[in-house]
Symmetry: C2
């Protein structure tokens, strides 16, 4: 039995912030949505949003139930031996998509993007600001004039693999062991990301 | 002004066959749908289906309004100098996606596949039977043990580019000249398809 009336505990405030964030991101896109606007819709003080979340990126990750925070995961993947970058990125990405509970938010976002320009815009702004910018500034491609296109070619390769493997379910890639997919895809990623 | 009652001209029969085909493919999947079953739903003689269409593949292409028939396009692309295969495939694919009227049926299929297992199954069976099988048997990879995975890695690369360029609309790839995308993607396709 739940108590009558609107519960007012801290987890309720957090949930109201996330519901407001989903509405604001959907209505305004990622770039134009603001923490202040989200607080207003959630009817909470803006300081409470900052209490729960570091910034807009973290609100988006939580609101869309994304399984990792790019601000946290990407620096770890991008650090280390440049020769192993393609393999590290491939393994991280395949690992995220291997678990149903972590791939489902991405499939939901993609599904929305294929049918709604507003959802496509929201996804585009988040991918550009949170993902592409960070990877494009990473060694070993930071100095290349076409570094952004190269990162997008790598993202395209991974996104297509995820679609064939987990959404369309085309064999043999849908059932192939992760090691076989790494052997196939990591060299392609390495070439895109190393400027070869 | 259109005449009253159900028109019975030849173009009407063709349209009824296509409507029946869409219903049958959606209900049974690509492999289990049959020309005989489609004729039954359309209430036409099976010979009429064969009069309009060469086979099930061509009914599917017309019913889904796909802008090319793999049985016709693929042999042309796969023939010729093996060193130029990656570039020919990339140019053909980018050309199809460049025109809104030819990419929209693919986006609709993809959108359906991300939200409906039945639609995903239909797309999977068509892609496997019509596309992957033909390309995997083509030189120069026909003899390789991992030829099907290699074709899928190539399809994944192209599909991901199409998503970033035309569905999510991520810059700079969304506005990049076709030549820049060919320069970026054709070498990756060539490596996947040549077994390098």
């Amino acid at each position: 039995m739940s108590p009558r009336g609107r519960p007012a505990g801290p987890s309720d405030a957090r949930e109201r912030i996330l519901a407001a964030a989903r509405a604001e991101f959907a209505a305004k896109g990622y770039d134009k949505a603001s923490l202040r606007g989200i607080a207003r819709v959630a009817e909470v003080d803006p300081s409470l949003v900052h209490h729960y979340f570091e910034g807009k990126e973290q609100v988006f990750v939580a609101a869309m139930r994304l399984p990792f925070d790019p601000a946290d995961a990407l620096p770890r993947i991008l650090a280390g031996n440049p020769d192993g970058l393609g393999e590290r990125v491939t393994r991280f990405f395949l690992g995220v998509w291997a678990r149903p509970e972590s791939r489902e938010p991405f499939i939901a976002l993609l599904s929305a993007a294929t049918s709604s320009p507003a959802a496509a815009g929201m996804l585009r702004e988040f991918v550009t600001g949170s993902l592409l910018a960070r990877v494009a500034e990473a060694s070993p491609i930071a100095g290349l004039p076409d570094r952004e296109l190269r990162v997008e070619a790598a993202v395209a390769q991974l996104l297509g693999v995820a679609l064939l493997r987990h959404v369309i379910g085309v064999e043999p890639i849908a059932s192939a062991p992760e090691e076989d997919v790494v052997a196939l895809i990591a060299p392609a990623l390495q070439r895109h990301l190393s400027g070869e």
